[in-house]
Symmetry: C4
């Protein structure tokens, strides 16, 4: 075949610390995660806060907000930072040796900072009382579902997302089928949209650990459902 | 013209049984059908189970779940297995001699296994009582419609889907119009979305036999509406 | 510049009557108009017939049905017949001398036949009583709007559609900007979606004369709003 | 690298005043802004005026109307005028020295004229009483939100839009990643859609000054939220 698997990224790469593009990429991750949290959290809280669901954008609107933001942000930042936005994706790519450890850690810190800023702005706009009333949009397992179902839903949802991301960016694909990289951000966005359509009623869908960790109270489950799946997924993706 | 119709696939091709890509393709079909059933069935049952339709994603959300999953999965697996997901599509391509019999049968078995696993997971998440209450999301002809209307709706719906698939992947098209293969997964996904928009109120839309057969009780109609149309469609597509 | 305006089509072209592609194109127009009417009319009547709007796909679902079908059908038939589907588009292209008179008339006849068949199938599925109750989905000017507002809304809506079609298929564009023809069916479908979003509450949106003429009772307005705008539009498009 | 930053546009360019393409571009901006105002305002007023939200297209439909129109119009006019439609975008590009002052002023005048015409047509269709009842669709800060929250929401919303526009059209991107310009109008349209999803409940979302200024009563805030952000955004975009 006529493609070349890129070499594994080194664990520590000192050179990149002196490169402006390294910091520009991290800033792009910060801005993207900030905008992602801002739009999605605002939409979700306003739907919860709406007296009649029919006059809000509803659960369908929330799903579009998540999926659409991922589409736009992956499109905008793919050429700068790779367009991760999600620490689970960053971690998955690190496990696959596509990123150095320094870059992985710096991205994750910036993503969490961006998410915190986004949540603070939404809290400022909505006021403390409304924000607390809806628990800051944090994910909880709904009544009628077991903790295991919540964990399972998060695992399968994250699997679908990471599976789509790997399919869309695989070097093998790009070589044999020029169609794939052109549309790439669109199916990634749709994957996020679809996971939310299906699992908002179960857990509120927390496939992005950046979103969960900073919103308090779900850190335990967040790290389980966010960090475990990418590694499982990796195994399966690589096998396939 | 400057295109070449690919030669008809042989009925039995022993060589492909010793090829890793054959098994990889079948695994991709399994994963894709599993994810398809999981997301769509979960969305459909949660809408049925929602006390007020306004707080769920509604019939529009169900249609998006079906169409969006087909878009994402065709995008992800087109380069690996051809992205059938649907036994009706596999069978239609077999009739058109694009697939060997061995591959056709292996795909169909994997698709049905994937669908069964997806349904089992959804049943596990929702609990037996909720799952049975909504008949496992199985398709029945609604009150006010005759069996003939149900069969007709399934036939025309499947025709629209197979017509779009053949238009999007025809070698003639690709040669004279480079635009077509780039967008291909998008109109295929939209075709599924639109069929569901129109026919959910009639039969619940069962254009995917993998979905129907395993959900019990509709196997008879499933085989009629699922296997008949592709062959009719084939006739019409070839004629056109 | 490095593009060539294609020469004006002759009024009568005897040669094309002996060419299989001429009849294939007309059959594609028939199938496309049939599928278009079938899906859109079925969706519209089922929404009208639904006791609670919230359990149907609603006005948003109707708009998606119209826009999505145009996207899929333009995609499927663009390489065969040019993907008109709409007599107003065929007439507009005839005025612009892109089609011969014979082809224009044959297309229009096939489009109207396809539309009639689609309406008959929907009538068969829904039963006479439901079909008549909703006037067969025919367009009427709603209460609270004048006839002039209805005509104006149809004219501006058709203008937006024809403007998008001309922008997407203009030879000048294709030469200087390779992006345009790749996405072309998508903005055309969106234009139809958007016109329906805005004008369903006014007239039900009848920018496709094939849909209106055969549904009875609105032929007069149909021909006014359907045939007048393309020629006005043409004037404006050419001027721009 | 193998791209060239285009040279800064001169402040005054007399030559372009004698060029037909200059006037064609301004006419395209007029038509685009007219169609944008017409479709979006009509959709918004009809949703407000609908007795039950469930029988209208709802807040989700309004968001689609704004985002979809931007997608279609950017697609149609990108090759003619650059597809600004929005004075904030025109002003932002002027600050970035991509446009001459004469072109900037002429565009803005034509955009405002187009917006006024669009609003007049909608007023004519809906009648004075309905139009006044809903304040002509003008943006006001909703109850429960401070003026500061309204201003902040407008600033972040405009930032997301301008950030996407700059990402999609940057010469650096186009050189290293051929994917970007092909999809460009789609993420721009989605950005507008997403901003409306999130901020319609706060201010009605007035990121387009052309829309606000002519609808009276909000000129003060309009100029603050419309003109300030692009310059801030510019700073940040350039820095990144």
């Amino acid at each position: 075949k006529d493609y070349q698997e890129p070499p594994a990224a080194p664990l520590f790469e000192v050179a990149e610390l002196f490169c402006w593009s390294f910091y520009r990429a991290a800033i792009a991750e910060f801005i993207a995660t900030f905008l992602f949290l801002y739009i999605t959290l605002l939409t979700a809280i306003q739907v919860s806060n709406s007296p009649s669901k029919c006059s809000s954008v509803g659960a369908l609107g929330i799903s579009w907000a998540f999926g659409g933001m991922i589409f736009v942000l992956v499109y905008c930042t793919a050429g700068i930072s790779g367009g991760h936005i999600n620490p689970a994706v960053t971690f998955g790519l690190f496990v696959g040796r596509k990123l150095s450890l320094t870059r992985t850690l710096f991205y994750m810190v910036m993503q969490c900072l961006g998410a915190i800023c986004g949540a603070i702005v939404v809290k400022g706009f909505e006021g403390n009382s409304v924000f607390e009333l809806h628990s800051g949009g944090a994910n909880v397992v709904s009544d009628g579902y077991t903790q295991l179902a919540g964990l399972g839903a998060e695992i399968i949802g994250t699997f679908l997302l990471v599976y789509t991301v790997f399919s869309a960016t695989d070097a093998k694909f790009s070589a044999c089928d020029s169609r794939v990289p052109i549309l790439a951000p669109l199916p990634i966005g749709f994957a996020v949209f679809l996971v939310h359509l299906a699992t908002i009623p179960i857990t509120g869908t927390g496939i992005n650990p950046a979103r969960m960790d900073i919103l308090g109270g779900t850190i335990g489950r967040g790290s389980v459902s966010g960090l475990l799946p990418p590694s499982c997924d990796k195994g399966i993706s690589i096998q396939v």
